[in-house]
């Protein structure tokens, strides 16, 4: 495109066929993307160090995300296991107890009823707590008899279970009832707090990633000031000059994301061993879920996007600022 001399043709960029021009546009972008990899390769140590910093910064929020995700899965298992504990009034006779048990068992909301008598409870407490001998000094069993009620799945949500609890507490033989969902609610409130904290921490770390990239790109722009001035003198547009820097930012982010993924995979592999050990001791099955493929893609897209964003910030500030001046 010649501005000052209409008769002049610049055949390079303006070949007549728009399809061909589009193809050339992508080819040139590809060339510049590859060229900026070459640029990184020229200083492998410092590039790798920067990428490692990014990788570690990204690994932390990713790990937090996995913690939150696994915690969520664990809690979704607990949520449906709402259990209502009913404490009997003192001095309720054996036959009355049996009646109550039968009555509760007939409720359509109730799945299962278990009776733990005061003596059984004391026995259980002795074995589990390890206070066995000390407890034998008590002249009277301090523990009440307890009825454990497990609601049907339909009533195991916190609201449904609470409704059922209200009903059960009306029974004259019942002193009071306790819904195990209340501690679950407290737990989930705490977990929500942790989730929020993790989210805030994650956002801070992502911000750090963008800033690290912005600073790296800033330094590389200032290092190549001379080159930028020359490019401007021979007629390069700002868009042309900034493109390789933007690509460099994207590469930083992308490779940083990959490093983060490797870190997280290593952490998972490391923790899984100890977790299996723990699970076998608890006699339950615990599995860790790692990053799914779509989460992996999100991680890579996010890190590349942050790379672009950081680079863009630097480019807008510095490439536009540099003007050829001292000479000519």
């Amino acid at each position: 495109m010649s501005l000052l001399f209409n008769q002049r043709k610049s055949p390079g960029a303006n070949s007549a066929n728009p399809g061909h021009r589009l193809v050339m546009y992508f080819i040139r972008h590809l060339q510049q993307a590859l060229a900026s990899i070459g640029e990184l390769w020229r200083m492998p140590i410092s590039s790798l160090l920067t990428m490692a910093v990014l990788g570690v910064s990204l690994a932390l929020p990713t790990t937090l995300h996995l913690l939150m995700k696994n915690g969520q899965q664990l809690r979704s298992g607990w949520d449906s296991a709402a259990e209502i504990t009913l404490f009997m009034e003192e001095g309720v006779s054996e036959s009355q107890t049996q009646k109550v048990l039968r009555r509760i068992g007939l409720y359509e909301q109730v799945n299962k009823v278990t009776y733990v008598g005061a003596d059984d409870a004391l026995e259980e407490f002795k074995t589990l707590s390890g206070f066995g001998d000390a407890l034998s000094y008590l002249d009277k069993n301090p523990l009440p008899s307890v009825i454990l009620v497990i609601p049907t799945t339909q009533y195991s949500s916190p609201e449904g279970a609470r409704e059922l609890l209200e009903k059960l507490q009306q029974q004259p033989e019942i002193a009071f009832g306790k819904l195990d969902v209340t501690w679950l609610e407290k737990l989930s409130a705490i977990v929500n707090l942790l989730d929020d904290a993790a989210l805030a921490l994650g956002i801070l770390l992502l911000l750090a990633v963008a800033l690290v990239i912005a600073n790296t790109i800033r330094l590389s722009i200032l290092n190549r000031r001379e080159e930028i001035e020359v490019l401007k003198l021979v007629g390069a547009t700002n868009n042309f000059i900034r493109r390789p820097f933007l690509y460099t930012g994207i590469w930083y982010g992308l490779i940083g994301g990959l490093i983060a993924w490797v870190c997280v995979s290593l952490i998972l592999w490391w923790v899984e061993g100890t977790l299996l050990d723990l699970a076998s001791q608890l006699g339950s099955e615990l599995t860790l879920s790692g990053l799914s493929f779509s989460e992996f893609l999100i991680l890579i897209a996010l890190s590349s996007g942050l790379g672009w964003l950081g680079a863009y910030g630097s480019v807008m500030r510095h490439v536009y600022e540099i003007e050829p001046e001292n000479q000519l």
Partner: protein, 234 residues
């Protein structure tokens, strides 16, 4: 080709570099711009290259008022002007080929075109054999000629040179001037800023002389130059 109308340039800080300068460089003309350092030569060239804007007055290139060229259009306008610098301003970490190819890469030429045109430009300055050299293996005169090859590789109708022979001995200077004369003979307008009066004394070229920001001489070189308080260099 280039026309200045009452051009004044005052830098921020109050330094007056050009004072109501008028001149006209004809299409296809080769001319020298002379004057002491600080007389305003560089400022004049900067105004043509749109590295500075005039405080008042107008600069025209090929009839286009440069005041009407927006910041976004400046790069495109610069592609019509080949610029040559005293310190050549080559990129030392790239080969001669890549340096000369720069303006073509920017304009998005095909690689085959780039190879052909770079070879032609280097041939014109007599450096085709050094196409794959790195700049630090070349002499000062060769570097300057690579700079000229870069300036002419996309065949601009106008060449600006700022002290192109500033660092060279007289023999090399004449070689460089010869290159400019060859280019001029195929219709390229050339404007050369220099304080090397010995160089231009022997030639009959249009000469513009600046003193303290004012155009004090505008005519064929150079018999009356000595009166205008110049001591020829060399």
């Amino acid at each position: 080709m280039i026309r200045f109308e009452e051009v004044t340039k005052i830098y921020p800080g109050g330094q007056q570099a050009l004072n109501r300068v008028n001149f006209h460089l004809q299409p296809g003309e080769m001319a020298f711009l002379t004057g002491h350092s600080g007389a305003g030569k560089s400022t004049l060239l900067k105004l043509i290259a749109m590295m500075e804007r005039p405080t008042s007055g107008q600069v025209f290139i090929n009839g286009h008022n440069l005041n009407k060229i927006t910041k976004k259009q400046v790069p495109f306008a610069r592609r019509d002007i080949g610029m040559i610098f005293q310190n050549h301003r080559l990129l030392m970490d790239r080969s001669v080929f890549n340096n000369v190819a720069l303006p073509l890469i920017i304009e998005g030429y095909h690689l085959s075109d780039i190879k052909r045109r770079v070879a032609a430009a280097l041939d014109k300055v007599g450096l085709l054999a050094k196409i794959n050299n790195m700049p630090n293996t070349l002499s000062g005169g060769e570097l300057q000629r690579v700079g000229i090859a870069r300036a002419i590789v996309n065949k601009p109708p106008l060449l600006l040179a700022d002290e192109p022979t500033g660092n060279l001995d007289p023999h090399l200077s004449m070689e460089i001037l010869k290159v400019f004369e060859d280019l001029n003979s195929v219709g390229v307008a050339v404007m050369i800023a220099t304080h090397d009066l010995g160089l231009i004394a022997r030639m009959k070229y249009h000469t513009f002389t600046l003193r303290q920001g004012q155009m004090i001489h505008d005519g064929l070189s150079s018999s009356d130059l000595r009166e205008s308080e110049f001591e020829p260099v060399i």
